[in-house]
Amino acid sequence: MSMISIRKDWCKRCGICIEFCPVKVFAQEADGTPVPQNQDKCTVCRLCELRCPDFAIKVEVTEDESK
């Protein structure tokens, strides 16, 4: 399992994570803020974290699966 966290104070709502997630994990709030709605689909490719221009996304692998 993965845990995707978004720092809203750093996020500028550019939409890159939403657009380019290969498995469409993110939904978008009215103001453009990404919401990791479908976290269960996440393959931990980390492209959202790597591409985020604002260091606002962290993808962490939760304890039990990382073993």
Binding site: D9, W10, K12, R13, C14, G15, I16, I18, E19, F20, L47, L50, R51, C52, P53, D54, F55
Partner: protein, 281 residues
């Protein structure tokens, strides 16, 4: 796996970043800091040198030694730093205006001289900070704040330029393909001698807006669709090739760098003069 994380090099107190929404600078900065972490660069022996422009603000967020100089001159400051103390890792961050337009002469000569510096040019095809005027890499026929009727000058192919100038390492990546970009940067830093990495990057605020790509995803798609690997590019016609961003490593060779050659001069001179004094402050 390295214990050092990229955010050890990031000055988090300075965030959120200064750049516009969707600007590729932050993405490239992330790739650089991740490369630093993988290579476990010692902050005290690393100097990041920047010029002026949006990308020239990058040093504000980096916790190594820094030097923030003048527009176009980052490589010259970096040359002095590196040659004065060859044990330092020196990384110069420049934009396309900074590194390849006003600083074009320094770029080709630093490459020719083969000073052991890693130059990372973020190419967003225009002067973002001052409102989106055209630069030396702005593509022909595109629109900028100072080419409202369509740009009539062709843009530089920076990799070809630097390769022709003799640099031992020349590569191009983009803010779209970040995994590749990070790898190209890492290899460049590890390279002894002048290494040059061009990072194609979106500027939705200015270049994008005037060229029908108002959002960051639109710009990244444009970069993606126009990117082709070196192997793929070979199959294209010359005409088609010129319209594409060819991605990958163009040159990767081992030749002695300036400091190494100069050291042998010092050794032969001091032997002759009966031992020299290295007057450190």
């Amino acid at each position: 796996m390295s214990k050092i994380k990229y955010d050890d090099y990031l000055i988090k107190e300075k965030l959120p970043l200064f750049w516009c929404s969707g600007c590729g600078n932050g993405t490239v900065l992330g790739a650089i800091l991740r490369a630093f972490a993988t290579l476990e660069l010692d902050k005290k022996n690393t100097v990041v040198v920047t010029g002026i422009g949006c990308w020239g603000k990058a040093d504000d967020y980096i916790s190594t030694n820094t030097f923030h100089g003048t527009h176009g001159r980052a490589l010259s400051f970096a040359t002095g730093i590196k040659l004065a103390n060859p044990k330092l890792k020196v990384i110069a961050l420049m934009g396309d205006g900074d590194g390849a337009t006003i600083g074009g002469n320094h770029l080709i000569h630093t490459a020719r001289r083969n000073v052991d510096i890693t130059a990372i040019v973020v190419n967003n095809f225009n002067y973002g900070m001052t409102g989106g005027q055209y630069s030396g890499t702005t593509p022909e026929d595109s629109y900028t704040a100072t080419s409202r009727y369509g740009h009539i000058e062709p843009g530089f192919d920076l990799c070809k330029l630097v390769e022709a100038a003799g640099a031992p390492y020349v590569a191009r990546g983009s803010a779209y393909n970040v995994v590749q970009l990070e790898k190209l940067i890492r290899d460049g830093i590890e390279k002894k001698g002048f290494s040059f990495i061009e990072a194609i990057s979106p500027c939705p605020t200015h270049f994008g807006r005037l060229n029908g790509m108002r959002t960051a995803p639109q710009m990244l798609k444009w970069i993606k669709e126009n990117s082709v690997a070196i192997s793929g590019a070979e199959k294209l016609s010359r005409e088609d090739r010129e319209k594409k961003f060819i991605m990958g490593k163009f040159t990767d060779k081992d030749i002695p760098d300036y400091s190494q050659k100069y050291q042998s001069i010092i050794e032969s001179c001091t032997a002759e003069a009966g031992g020299g004094i290295n007057n450190e402050i």
